[in-house]
C-alpha cells in the first residue's frame, strides 16, 4: 500500500544523501524569502490621531503666528501711493485726453495731476504704472509674440513666427517686434515734480535702468547682431502699426536702451498674470543724506497721455511704492499666516481636550473594539 509513497521519498530524499535539500532547493520554485518579496520591509507606520497630531498643530501655530505678525508689520511699513489718471470723470484733468486718445494720434496729449504725499517715502521708491481690466493673459494675446525674433534671430526678424498674426507683416515687410503684445506697448510718459512749499517744481529724477529682469535684459532679449547701428540692423522691417517710433528709436535719450533691449519694452513683454496689474516704470533712487527720497508734500504728475483704455473700460494708475524683502504692500499674506496659525493653535487645543476625553474613557486599548 505504501509503496508509492515510500518510493517517492526514496526518489528525492535518500536518507543520508549529501545533497539533501541543497540540490533540490536550487531547482525549487520556492520564492525567495526576502523582505521585499514577502512584503516585510521595515516600515514606519504613523497613525494620525489626536495624540500624534497635537504637537504638530501647536508647532504650526507657534511658527505661523510670528511669521504672520512679521509679514503684517512689514507690509504695513511699506508706503504706497496710488493715483488714477485715466480721466473717466469729466472733472478729471485727463478727461479730454482720455476721450481723444487713440493709437493713431501723432501728437501726445498732455495732462497733469496734483497730489499730496502725507508721509515721506524713505529709501528707493518704485514707480509703477497700473492697468486694470487689461487682459494681458488672454490666450491669444499671450502667444502673439516671437521670442526668437526678440532673441535676435535674423531669420525670425525677417520672417516672424505665425503666432504673430495678424501683426506679423505689414504689407511685404515684417514687423519688428511682431505680435499683439508688442503692438499694444504702453506708451504713456510720466513725469513727476515735487512742488516745494515755495512753489518751485523740482523734477524728480527717474531712473529707467534696472526696471526689467536682468536675465531678460541680457539674455532673453537681444538686438539683431552683426551691426552696431540699430537702424541698419532693423533694416527691412517695419514698426508695429500702433507705434509712433520704430523699435530702434524707443529711447532717444539712451542709445543702449533701444531696440529689443529697451527696458520699458521688456517689462511690457512680460505679460501680466492678472487683468489688474502694475508694471515697474521707473525707480527713484534714494538720495544720499538724511532727506527722504520723496518728502511729504505736493507733487505734480505730468502725463503724456497716449494709451487709450476707454475702449475696454480700463483704468490707468500711477503707483509710488517702497518695497521690502517681501515685495510690495500686501497685507493678505500676514493676515493669512496669523489666521491659519491661530486656527492650528486652537485646533491643537481642541484636539488635546478631545484626546484627553477619549483617553480617559477608553484607555489605550479599550478604545480598540472591532465592530462587525
Amino acid at each position: 500500500m505504501a509503496s508509492s509513497y515510500n518510493a517517492k521519498e526514496e526518489d528525492g530524499h535518500v536518507p543520508g544523501s549529501a545533497g539533501h535539500g541543497g540540490a533540490a532547493e536550487a531547482k525549487s520554485k520556492k520564492p525567495d524569502n526576502t523582505a521585499f518579496k514577502q512584503q516585510r520591509l521595515p516600515a514606519w507606520q504613523p497613525i494620525l490621531t489626536a495624540g500624534t497630531v497635537l504637537p504638530a498643530f501647536f508647532v504650526i501655530g507657534l511658527i505661523f503666528i510670528p511669521i504672520g505678525i512679521g509679514l503684517f508689520v512689514t507690509s504695513n511699513n511699506i508706503k504706497e501711493f496710488e493715483i488714477d489718471y485715466t480721466g473717466v470723470n469729466s472733472d478729471s484733468p485727463c478727461y479730454s485726453c482720455a476721450t481723444n486718445a487713440s493709437w493713431n494720434n501723432t501728437t501726445p496729449c498732455l495732462c497733469s495731476l496734483n497730489f499730496t504725499l502725507s508721509q515721506p517715502f524713505e529709501s528707493n521708491v518704485y514707480m509703477y504704472y497700473g492697468l486694470s481690466n487689461f487682459y494681458q493673459n488672454h490666450r491669444r494675446y499671450v502667444k502673439s509674440r516671437d521670442d526668437s525674433q526678440l532673441y535676435g534671430d535674423p531669420n525670425a526678424l525677417k520672417s516672424p513666427s505665425k503666432e504673430c498674426e495678424p501683426y506679423r507683416m505689414s504689407g511685404a515687410q515684417p514687423i519688428a517686434p511682431c505680435g499683439a503684445i508688442a503692438n499694444s506697448l504702453f506708451n504713456d510718459t510720466l513725469e513727476l515734480y515735487h512742488i516745494e512749499p515755495n512753489g518751485t517744481r523740482n523734477l524728480i529724477p527717474l531712473v529707467k535702468k534696472g526696471i526689467a529682469w536682468w536675465t531678460d535684459k541680457h539674455v532673453k532679449f537681444r538686438n539683431p547682431e552683426g551691426n552696431d547701428n540699430l537702424t541698419v540692423a532693423f533694416q527691412g522691417t517695419t514698426k508695429p502699426v500702433n507705434w509712433r517710433n520704430p523699435v530702434y528709436e524707443l529711447d532717444p535719450s539712451d542709445p543702449e536702451n533701444n531696440g529689443f533691449i529697451n527696458e520699458d519694452f521688456i517689462v511690457w513683454m512680460r505679460t501680466a498674470a492678472l487683468p489688474t496689474f502694475r508694471k515697474l516704470y521707473r525707480i527713484i533712487q534714494k538720495k544720499s543724506g538724511p532727506t527722504p527720497t520723496l518728502p511729504s508734500g505736493n507733487y505734480v504728475l505730468n502725463i503724456a497721455y497716449n494709451y487709450p483704455v476707454t475702449s475696454f473700460d480700463g483704468r490707468k494708475r500711477m503707483i509710488l511704492s517702497t518695497i521690502s524683502w517681501m515685495g510690495g504692500k500686501n497685507p493678505f499674506l500676514g493676515i493669512a499666516y496669523i489666521t491659519v496659525g491661530s486656527i492650528c493653535f486652537f485646533l491643537g487645543g481642541g484636539f488635546k481636550q478631545a484626546a484627553l476625553n477619549i483617553w480617559s474613557v477608553h484607555g489605550i486599548l479599550g478604545g480598540v473594539e472591532l465592530s462587525d
Partner: protein, 1319 residues
C-alpha cells in the same frame, strides 16, 4: 515554379476552404506522392505543422498594434484630443507637444506588446525547428526533419521521452502489445502515464513497421477543441472499417514515456492540433473595481464637459460685455474677429484641450503596472508555496487581483478541495460482513492524538515531537524509522504547521489488512472453491476493475522490465493446467501480528517444478511482497510497482488489494496480470473496458478468467447506480446464509457515508459466451460509429451491466487537508458565506462539513430533501417563514444560532426553477453556510450564477476537478486547486493554488491589500488630476475664459508623467495598511472590503470635492498674495505648480499607511526631480517653448522669500481639512482598520496575546475545534475505537471558559433542528 492563373488559385483556395470545413476528412498517406508538386498532393488543403502564434509581423507591427490599442476607448479619447490640438481654431499653444503623452503611453504599450510577440516568435521558431523523424519513401527510412516540415498524411517516428509534434494516429509501437505510454503534463498537467494503443487490426506488429504498406483511408472528424474526444476510422482497401478513438491518438505536446519508439500517422498538424486549438491566451476578466472605475471615468468626462461649458459660456459673456475691441483681443490672421458666440463655441474645444488631463491618461497604464507587480508579489509569497508539489501560487487572470478582497460568497468543491483527494482504503464489507480494519483505525488515532496536542490556535510552534511514531504499536518497520520524512516536513513547519504529520506520513496511506479478513481469505485460498469464492473475487475485482497504469516507481520512468520474466505465463493454457493441479495447495494462516509475514502452511514442491518460472526467484519475490520490505531483490516486482491512476479512488483500491496480496502486476490493453496471495500470476484477458462516465456512475471491466475461461464482468460504482442493477444474491451456496446481502451491505454503506467515507460497490457478473458474442458485435459497431458514438457506447455498456451480483462495498477515506477548518472559520469570520457543492451523498457531505466546521454543532441545520416540487415549494415557504420569524424575534438577536442549509441535488434542481429561485436565494442568504450534495457540474455553475445574479455579490468558486470547471468559470473569481485530479480546473481558473488553506492568506491578506491599494490609488489618481486641472480652471475666471494656461506646457506634462506618477504607483504596489499577521489573526477586517469596499461613490465624490477645495486654496491664496503686483503669467504659475506638487504629494503621504525606505526615496525623489528638472529646464530654455519661455523663472522665484511663504501657507491650508478629518475620525470614531493599525504597532507577542484575548472574549464557541467525531455514527461498532477520546483531548487544550457555556446553552437549539428537518 509554374505560373497558375489567378482563377485557379482562387478556385484552389475555395476548395481548400471547403475541405477544411467538411465534417469528415479523408486523409491518405503522402508517401505515394512524395516529391510531387504541391498541387498534386492529396492533403494539401490541410494546414502544415508550422505554427505561428505571433500577433504581428515585422512590417505591419505598427499599424496592427495601433489598431489593437485603439480598441481601448481611453486611447481613442486621448488621440482624439491630441488631434483636436491641430485644429487651428482651438488655438493650441503647441499642438505637437500635446501628442507626447499619448505617444508615450502608446509606445510603452507597443514596446510591451512587441517584446511579448518577440518571445512568442522565438518560441515558435524553436518549436518549428525541433527535429523529428519523418518517413521518406526515397530514403526508405525515417529521416530527421523539422516539426515545420511535417504535413498531414506523413508518418512520424517518436522515440522515448520525445515530444509528439502533431496529432498522430498511433499505428505502431515498439511494444509487442501495441501500447504506447504518454504523459500529458504539457497538455493538462496530469503527470500520470496514460496508455495509448495502436489502431487495432491495421498493421501487423512486425518488428519493423513499413509505412509504405499503409494504404488505408483515414477518415476523421473536423478538428475540435475537446482534448478527451476523438473519432476516426480507417477504411482499408477492402472497405473494412476499423474504428479508432482517443485511445489511439497521440496529442501534440504529449511526451512518450516508457516506450522505445512509436510510429504515427499525422491527422492534424499545426494550428489544427487539439493542443493548439486549446491554447487560448490569458483570460480577460474585468474586475468589479474596474467596472466602477469606468463609470467614474464617465463622471469625470461629464465634469470635464461641464467645466468646458462654463468656460465657453463665460468666454461668450465676457466677449459680449466688451464695448469695443480692446488691444489685447487678437483678431484672426485675416484681421477679422469672430463673433462672441462663435468664439465661445471654439472656446469649448480649447477648454477640452486645456482641461483634458482631468481624465487621467496614465491611470490605465498605472493600474496595469500595479496589477502586474501585485501578481508578482502574490506569486512570490512563500506562504502560498507548497513544498510538496513544489508549486507556487499561479495567477492566470492578470487583472482581477483586487476582486480577491471583495469576495462575499465562496463556492467550494469538497473532494480534493477541502479534502486531500488522497484516497485511503479504510473499511470494506464483503458479502454483508463488515471488516472494520480496526488496526488501521488504532494507528490513525495514535497519529491523531499527536496531531491534536498541537492544536493551539495561533501557535507557531516548531515541528511536533515525533512521539506519535514511537508510540505506534505497528511501527516495527525499520525502513519507516530509517527515513523519517524530515525533508517533507521542513517546509510545512515554516507555515502554520498544525500537526500535519498524519497527512504526509507513509503510514497514513498504508493499509493494514484486517485480521479477520485475512483469515477469511486464507480460508478461501485453502478451500476448494477458490475460483468462485466471493472474497477472492472481491479482491480480484479491486485489482482488475480499474484503469490504473502500472509503472516503475523510479523517477526516470524508464521502461518497466518485468515482462521477460513472466513471458510464458501469457499462455493461458499452461497456467490453467498448472493452477488446476495446484488448486488448494496453498494455505495461509496467521501468526499474531497483523503485519507478520504470512506463512505457507503447505507447499507443493511439484507445483514449483511445474511452474515455468524460476522457483527460487519466485519464492523470494513472494516473501518480499508479503513482508513489505522494500527493494531488496533486484528483480523486485511488487514494491517497485507504482500505480498511476486517473482517479485516486482506483489507486486506493488497487493498493488495498495489494495489501491483501492481490497484486496488480501489469496492465496492457488486452490483459491484466494479477498475482494472487498464493504467488501465482494470473493473466486475465481483457475483453472490454466500459469506462466510467458520470451518467452511469460506474465502470466495468470484462475479462476472461484464465482458469475457468468464463467471461466475467467486474463492475464497481456508486451504490445508487449499482443497487438497482443487482440480481439475486450471489453465492447462494454459502451455508445458512439467508441474510440479504444487499440489505446488509446497504446498511454498511450508509454507515460509511455517515462516517464521511466514500463508498463504492463491487459486483461481479458471469457472462455467457453466447451473450458476449452477440454483445461484442454490437460493441464493435458502436465503436466504429462516428456519429452518436458516445450514446451507442453507453447503450452497449448498459446492456451488459445488468443482473449484477453484489460482492461487497468499500469505504475510502478522503482526509481533510490541513488547516481546512481553520480556513473555513476564518473565511466565515471574514464575512464570507461558504457554500460547499459536492457530488457526494448527503451523509458523507454533512459529516465532512462538521469536520471542516462548515457546520457547527450548535447550528440550526435545515435539511431540504424532497421528492416533488409541490412539497418542495411548501417546505421552502414554511422554512423561509420560520427563519424570518426567528431572525426577527428580538429575543434571538444575540443568541441566534447560525442557520445552515443542507440541500440535495434533486431538490436543488427544483428550487433552481425560475419560480422558486427567488425564495431559495432569500432563504440561502439568511443561512450562514449552505451545503449542496449530489449536484452535477452544471448545477454547480447554475447555483453560482443564481447567487451572483440575484444577490449581486462577488462570488468565488474553488475546485480541483473537471467537474468544477463550469462553476469556476461562472464565478467572478475561479480558483483551481492543483491537486490529484489533473489540471483542468487550474486551466479554467483565474488563480491556482495548491492547498485549500492558501485561500485564507490569498483572500484575507492579498485580497485585502490588493483591493485597498488599488482602490486608494485610483481615488488618488482622480483626486490628483482634478486638483491640478482645476488650478487652470480657476485661472480662466481671470483671463476672460480664454483658455490660457499659466503653467508651462512641458512642465504640465512632466508634472503628470514624471513628477507625480511614481508615488501613486508605488502607493498602489507597496502600501500596507495592516500587517499580514493582523489580517490573518482578525479575519473580520476583511469585511471592510466587501460590498463597495474602499472605492465607492462616496469616497470618489469626497475626494473630488476635496480636490476642488484644494485647488481653490492652491489658486486663490497665491492669487490674493500676488494680486495687483507686477507678476507675469508664467511666474505666477510657478508657485502654483510647486504648491500643487507639495499638496499632491503630502496628500498622498497622509494616505500612505506605512513608510518604508522605498516610500521615502520615491517621495523625496519626486520633489527632487521636480526641482532639478524645472531648474534645468528654466536654465536652458530661453526661446524653446513659446510663449512661456520659462527662462530663469524658477530661479528668480526661489530667490524670493515670498515664494516659500506662499508655498508653505497654501499647502498647509489645502491639507488642513483632510488632516483634521483623519485625526477626528481616527480619534473619535476609529474604523476597525485604524484600530487594527494601532494594534499592529504593538510588538508581535503582545499583539498575538491581544488577538487571542479578543477572540476568546468574542465567543469561544467560534474558536472551538471539533473533530471528525462530532456526530457519532450510531450503528457501527467502531467509532469509539477510531476516536477513543477525541472531544476531550482537543477541548481541554483550549481556553474554553466560554466555549462550554455556549455549547451547553445552544444544545437545545441543536436538538431543535430535528423539527425543522423536512423529509
Amino acid at each position: 515554379m509554374t505560373w497558375r492563373s489567378p482563377l485557379a488559385v482562387v478556385r484552389d483556395a475555395l476548395r481548400g476552404q471547403r475541405a477544411r470545413e467538411k465534417d469528415l476528412r479523408n486523409l491518405v498517406s503522402n508517401l505515394p506522392y512524395e516529391g510531387l508538386e504541391k498541387a498534386k498532393q492529396p492533403n494539401r488543403y490541410f494546414l502544415g505543422n508550422a505554427i505561428k502564434t505571433t500577433k504581428y509581423t515585422l512590417l505591419l507591427f505598427i499599424p496592427m498594434n495601433l489598431f489593437e490599442q485603439f480598441h481601448r476607448l481611453a486611447n481613442l479619447y486621448f488621440v482624439g484630443l491630441a488631434i483636436l490640438n491641430f485644429v487651428p481654431v482651438v488655438n493650441a499653444f503647441q499642438p505637437e507637444v500635446a501628442l507626447i503623452p499619448i505617444c508615450v503611453i502608446l509606445s510603452l504599450t507597443a514596446l510591451k506588446d512587441a517584446w511579448e510577440d518577440f518571445r512568442r516568435y522565438k518560441s515558435d521558431r524553436k518549436l518549428n525547428n525541433t527535429p523529428c523523424f519523418i518517413y521518406s519513401r526515397r530514403e526508405k527510412e525515417f529521416m530527421e526533419r523539422r516539426w515545420k516540415d511535417l504535413r498531414v498524411g506523413d508518418f512520424v517516428k517518436i522515440v522515448c521521452n520525445e515530444i509528439v509534434p502533431a496529432d498522430l494516429l498511433l499505428l505502431h509501437t515498439a511494444d509487442p502489445n501495441g501500447v504506447c505510454l504518454i504523459e500529458t503534463a504539457n497538455l493538462d498537467g496530469e503527470t500520470n502515464l496514460k496508455q495509448r494503443r495502436v489502431v487495432p487490426g491495421l498493421c501487423i506488429s512486425d518488428p519493423e513497421f513499413e509505412p509504405e504498406s499503409f494504404n488505408g483511408l483515414v477518415v476523421c472528424e473536423r478538428p475540435n477543441i475537446n482534448l478527451n474526444h476523438f473519432k476516426c476510422y480507417v477504411e482499408k482497401p477492402d472497405k473494412e472499417k476499423v474504428g479508432a478513438g482517443l485511445e489511439s491518438l497521440l496529442l501534440r505536446g504529449c511526451t512518450v514515456r516508457n516506450t522505445d519508439h512509436a510510429v504515427g500517422f499525422v491527422v492534424y498538424a499545426g494550428h489544427e492540433t487539439k493542443s493548439m486549438l486549446n491554447n487560448n491566451g490569458p483570460r480577460y476578466k474585468r474586475s468589479k473595481l474596474e467596472r466602477k472605475l469606468n463609470t467614474d471615468v464617465i463622471f469625470c468626462v461629464i465634469l470635464l464637459l461641464v467645466m468646458c461649458l462654463i468656460g465657453a459660456v463665460g468666454h461668450f459673456l465676457w466677449l459680449q460685455a466688451l464695448a469695443t475691441v480692446p488691444p489685447y483681443l487678437v483678431p484672426q490672421s485675416t484681421g477679422h474677429l469672430d463673433s462672441p458666440a462663435l468664439s465661445g463655441f471654439y472656446m469649448f474645444f480649447t477648454m477640452i484641450i486645456l482641461l483634458q488631463i482631468l481624465i487621467p491618461i496614465s491611470l490605465y497604464v498605472s493600474i496595469e503596472l500595479v496589477k502586474i507587480v501585485q501578481i508578482y508579489l502574490i506569486t512570490n509569497d512563500v506562504d502560498l508555496y507548497d513544498e510538496e508539489t513544489d508549486s507556487r501560487m499561479q495567477c492566470k487572470a492578470l487583472n482581477i487581483t483586487e476582486d480577491l478582497g471583495q469576495i462575499e460568497y465562496i463556492f467550494s468543491d469538497k473532494t480534493g478541495t477541502l479534502t486531500e483527494n488522497k484516497m485511503v482504503f479504510r473499511r470494506c464489507s464483503i458479502m454483508g460482513t463488515e471488516y472494520p480494519h480496526k488496526e488501521n483505525a488504532i494507528r490513525l488515532t495514535v497519529l491523531d492524538e499527536a496531531e491534536s496536542e498541537e492544536e493551539v490556535i495561533f501557535n507557531q510552534r516548531p515541528q511536533p515531537s515525533r512521539t506519535g511514531w514511537s508510540l505506534d504499536p505497528e511501527d516495527t518497520n525499520p525502513k519507516d524509522k530509517a527515513q523519517p520524512p524530515f525533508s517533507r516536513h521542513k517546509g510545512r513547519v515554516l507555515g502554520n504547521a498544525q500537526g500535519d504529520v498524519a497527512f504526509s506520513s507513509p503510514l497514513e496511506t498504508e493499509v493494514i489488512p484486517d485480521r479477520k479478513l485475512l483469515q477469511q481469505i486464507s480460508r478461501a485460498e485453502c478451500s476448494g472453491r477458490r475460483l468462485t469464492d466471493p472474497y477472492l473475487d472481491f479482491f480480484l475485482a479491486l485489482a482488475i476493475c480499474n484503469t490504473v497504469v502500472v509503472s516503475m516507481a523510479t523517477a526516470s520512468r524508464q521502461r518497466k522490465s518485468w515482462l521477460p520474466h513472466h513471458g510464458r505465463t501469457n499462455n493461458p493454457l499452461d497456467t490453467l493446467s498448472s493452477l488446476v493441479k495446484s488448486a488448494g495447495s496453498f494455505c495461509h494462516i496467521f501468526t499474531s501480528g497483523q503485519r507478520k509475514p504470512m506463512q505457507k502452511c503447505s507447499l507443493s514442491e511439484d507445483y514449483f517444478q511445474e511452474e515455468d518460472i524460476n522457483p527460487p526467484l519466485k519464492m523470494e519475490t513472494n516473501e518480499n511482497t508479503n513482508d513489505k520490505k522494500k527493494t531488496r531483490s533486484p528483480s523486485a516486482t511488487s514494491d517497485n510497482l507504482s500505480y498511476e491512476a486517473e482517479s485516486p479512488d482506483e489507486a486506493a483500491l488497487v493498493y488495498a488489494a495489494n495489501a491483501y496480496d492481490f497484486i496488480l502486476l501489469a496492465r496492457t490493453p488486452d490483459s491484466v496480470t494479477v498475482r494472487l496471495p498464493s504467488g501465482e500470476d494470473l493473466v486475465f484477458e481483457v475483453l472490454d473496458t466500459l469506462a466510467f462516465d458520470s451518467n452511469r456512475k460506474r465502470m466495468s471491466v470484462l475479462v476472461r478468467h484464465p482458469i475457468t475461461r468464463e467471461c466475467v464482468l467486474y463492475t464497481k460504482g456508486a451504490d445508487v447506480a449499482i443497487m438497482e442493477l443487482l440480481s439475486t444474491p450471489y453465492a447462494e451456496h454459502l451455508s445458512g446464509s439467508q441474510k440479504n446481502i444487499a440489505a446488509d451491505t446497504q446498511h454498511h454503506l450508509d454507515c460509511y457515508a455517515k462516517e464521511g467515507l466514500r463508498t463504492l460497490c463491487i459486483t461481479k457478473k458471469v457472462v455467457s459466451d453466447k451473450v458476449y458474442d452477440s454483445w461484442s458485435l454490437n460493441r464493435q459497431r458502436a465503436q466504429a460509429a462516428i456519429e452518436n458514438r458516445e450514446e451507442l457506447l453507453m447503450e452497449t455498456a448498459m446492456q451488459l451491466e445488468t443482473n449484477l451480483s453484489l460482492l461487497g462495498a468499500t469505504g475510502i477515506e478522503d482526509r481533510l487537508q490541513e488547516n481546512v477548518p481553520d480556513t473555513i472559520v476564518a473565511l466565515r469570520e471574514a464575512g464570507i458565506q461558504v457554500w460547499v457543492l459536492t457530488g457526494d451523498k448527503p451523509e458523507t457531505a454533512v459529516n465532512i462539513s462538521y469536520a471542516c466546521r462548515l457546520l457547527e454543532e450548535e447550528d440550526l441545520v435545515i435539511n431540504m430533501s424532497c421528492k416533488n416540487k409541490l412539497i418542495c415549494t411548501s417546505i421552502l415557504d414554511s422554512t423561509l417563514e420560520e427563519v424570518r420569524r426567528y431572525g426577527e424575534d428580538p429575543r434571538n438577536v444575540d443568541t441566534t444560532p447560525d442557520i445552515s442549509l443542507v440541500i440535495d441535488g434533486r431538490t436543488l434542481a427544483m428550487v433552481l426553477s425560475s419560480d422558486l429561485q427567488d425564495r431559495f436565494v432569500d432563504l440561502a442568504k439568511r443561512c450562514r453556510s449552505v451545503l449542496c450534495c449530489r449536484v452535477t457540474p452544471l448545477q454547480k455553475s447554475s447555483v453560482v450564477k443564481l447567487v451572483r445574479e440575484k444577490l449581486k455579490v462577488m462570488t468565488l468558486a474553488v475546485g480541483d476537478g473537471a467537474n468544477d470547471v463550469n462553476m469556476i468559470q461562472a464565478a467572478d473569481i475561479g480558483i483551481g486547486i492543483s491537486g490529484q485530479e489533473g489540471m483542468q480546473a487550474v486551466m479554467a481558473s483565474d488563480f491556482a493554488i495548491s492547498r485549500f488553506k492558501h485561500l485564507k492568506k490569498l483572500l484575507l491578506v492579498h485580497g485585502h491589500w490588493s483591493h485597498t491599494r488599488l482602490a486608494n490609488m485610483i481615488i488618488y489618481f482622480f483626486y490628483k488630476n482634478v486638483a491640478y486641472v482645476n488650478l487652470l480652471f480657476w485661472y480662466q475666471f481671470y483671463c476672460g475664459f480664454s483658455g490660457t494656461a499659466m503653467i508651462d506646457y512641458w512642465l504640465m506634462i512632466f508634472f503628470n508623467l514624471f513628477f507625480t506618477s511614481v508615488p501613486p504607483v508605488m502607493f498602489g504596489i507597496m502600501d500596507k495598511d495592516i500587517s499580514a499577521e493582523m489580517l490573518m489573526g482578525v479575519p473580520e477586517l476583511y469585511r471592510t472590503g466587501q460590498g463597495t469596499g474602499d472605492y465607492n461613490r462616496k469616497t470618489f465624490w469626497i475626494s473630488i470635492l476635496d480636490a476642488f477645495y484644494q485647488s481653490l486654496v492652491c489658486f486663490f491664496i497665491p492669487y490674493l498674495a500676488y494680486q495687483d503686483s507686477d507678476i507675469d503669467v508664467f511666474t505666477f504659475g510657478t508657485p502654483l505648480n510647486t504648491i500643487s506638487l507639495f499638496t499632491i504629494l503630502l496628500h498622498l503621504s497622509i494616505e500612505i499607511k506605512t513608510w518604508t525606505l522605498v516610500h521615502w526615496v520615491v517621495m523625496l525623489g519626486s520633489v527632487a526631480a521636480y526641482f532639478i528638472v524645472t531648474l534645468a529646464y528654466s536654465a536652458i530654455c530661453i526661446t524653446c517653448n513659446p510663449p512661456s519661455n520659462p527662462y530663469w523663472i524658477l530661479q528668480s522665484q526661489m530667490a524670493d522669500p515670498m515664494f516659500y511663504l506662499v508655498c508653505i501657507i497654501t499647502t498647509v491650508v489645502a491639507l488642513l481639512p483632510r488632516y483634521v478629518f483623519h485625526v477626528l475620525r481616527n480619534s473619535i470614531a476609529p474604523s476597525p482598520l485604524t484600530q487594527a493599525r494601532h494594534l499592529d504597532r504593538l510588538d508581535p507577542s503582545s499583539r498575538d496575546q491581544w488577538i487571542k484575548e479578543w477572540r476568546s472574549f468574542r465567543g469561544g464557541g467560534h474558536v472551538k475545534r471539533s473533530r471528525l467525531s462530532t456526530p457519532p455514527s450510531p450503528t457501527l461498532e467502531t467509532p469509539v475505537d477510531i476516536y477513543p477520546q477525541s472531544p476531550t483531548a482537543s477541548d481541554i487544550t483550549e481556553d474554553d471558559f466560554t466555549l462550554n457555556v455556549i455549547t451547553n446553552y445552544q444544545r437545545p437549539v441543536h436538538t431543535r433542528n430535528k423539527d425543522v428537518v423536512a423529509s
